[in-house]
Symmetry: C2
Subunit: 278 residues, 2 copies
């Protein structure tokens, strides 16, 4: 039997950390940690500037879910990502979990390092990887890093052709992931990212909402209490991207959008939402 790549659990941030209900998103991570005998969950806090607080929060949340073997791997600089002792901490890991923070910290401190190579290898061998907020955004090959802020925060309007993007981890090909989606009014920003190269599907995740990517990345299922917004740009008939006002709002005609809710499934392979079982 061929090896199967591990699942990806991509969370839009602010996932419920109190609940132990069956439908809680973190339960999916906990279940995978508990399924592997002697396995532990490795929490990667590289993205955050408050690693101790983040570690404490997740230690409590996972303890409530029965996961007591939690190892915090806090990479502060590139030296630490080259340290064999840190790489060794991944051995036997059942689940790898990237916390929120700043996605550029993840890639700038770990990109190209032996630690990240080991993470990729484990994932290919079947170890699931979880990322929330910045940890979710970093999953793409090219990731959104913000730049022109959402208008909600008093910044300029968001759909600028000068969107800030950077090379991501590339754990999931052919997508651009954005988190805190409705909460921070990021529709226009994700649309702008999709218009830059409609090869990529835009996946916008509300808070406390996730996609669970399974089956060698062929499809995902929606978890959590919010919505998932898939922007498919293949049908775009016109965009002003290369024409004009580089600082202005980006014109886009004929994008296709799917809104998905808990238990909905989407085929990444076919670029299509799946109809619910009847």
């Amino acid at each position: 039997m061929a090896k199967q790549r591990g699942d990806l659990l991509i969370i839009g941030g602010s996932e419920d950390k109190e609940s132990d209900e069956e439908q809680a998103i973190l339960r999916q991570a906990a279940r995978r940690a508990l399924a592997k005998e002697g396995g532990h969950l490795v929490l990667l806090t590289v993205a955050t500037m408050e690693p101790q607080q983040t570690a404490e929060t997740y230690r409590k949340a996972f303890s409530r879910l029965g996961v007591h073997r939690l190892e915090v791997l806090d990479i502060r600089n590139r030296d630490q990502a080259y340290d064999p002792a840190n790489v060794e901490k991944l051995s036997g890991a059942a689940v790898l979990f990237f916390s929120g923070g700043d996605q550029l910290r993840i890639t700038s401190q770990m990109g190209g390092s032996p630690l990240l190579e080991r993470i990729f290898a484990l994932h290919e061998e079947g170890v699931p990887i979880v990322g929330t907020s910045a940890g979710a955004a970093a999953m793409s090959e090219t990731m959104l890093i913000g730049g022109p802020g959402s208008a909600i925060n008093g910044g300029p309007p968001p759909c600028l052709s000068s969107l800030a993007m950077a090379p991501g981890l590339g754990l999931l090909e052919g997508v651009i992931v954005d988190s805190h989606f409705s909460e921070r009014g990021r529709f226009a920003r994700l649309m702008g990212a999709v218009a830059q190269n409609p090869h990529n599907l835009g996946i916008g995740l509300d808070e406390d909402t996730a996609v669970l990517v399974r089956n060698n990345d062929e499809e995902f299922t929606v978890l959590g209490s919010g919505g998932v917004y898939v922007i498919d740009g293949l049908g775009i008939r016109y965009t002003s991207l290369s024409d004009m006002h580089t600082q202005g709002i980006l014109t886009v005609h004929d994008a296709r959008v799917h809104v998905l809710a808990r238990d909905d499934r989407f085929s990444l392979k076919e670029r299509r939402p799946l109809l619910p079982a009847t």
Copy 2:
């Protein structure tokens, strides 16, 4: 020559009130007020609970743009909407301007009244009507009145099938207008409204952004600094609206979305964005 219905200037709220630049949205209203000799601009403050402050703000803004004949018509209750003296104040009006506030105040205090009948008649005769924020939302036949708040304000996720809607003024047929669009993360809410009856185009307006509807409602042009989001639901292949979780996120497959910027044109008659002149 057949009479032509007046233009509609539909503004997403928070329009620039300081600028006298050529591109300022309020200049479009001012220009129309000044074009009619002896005509005045009637400011309808029915929507707001702070009519004096609103009147003062617009008096200053329009004075800066050269409009000194501004009449404030402040309807507080239905009796006033039946008062012939108030109806008479509309005579000779060059422009009618609905301020922001609560769109339900506009329809509940004025719906079916002689004052509103007169407004419709004037519009049919060519008088332009402007509405901002609540005044914009009220333009549709069926209008969004919020209900489940945007997640940005800490409320539940917005894309509920139990969206709150109410009968609007019906000045523009076949559309649902939403204002403060990116700023309040209203994509999911407008999508939900469109899914209820895809006959209607959803038009989401960012703040300081407007559509100028011309030519007997056949087309509009975008004004202002933000984006305009047009959601066309005719292609929707599946929605969970009638199936399931009435309190949950609404699943929608295959909506079509256009993002438009300043000077972009859209044919309401053809339901298509127009390509820019080359």
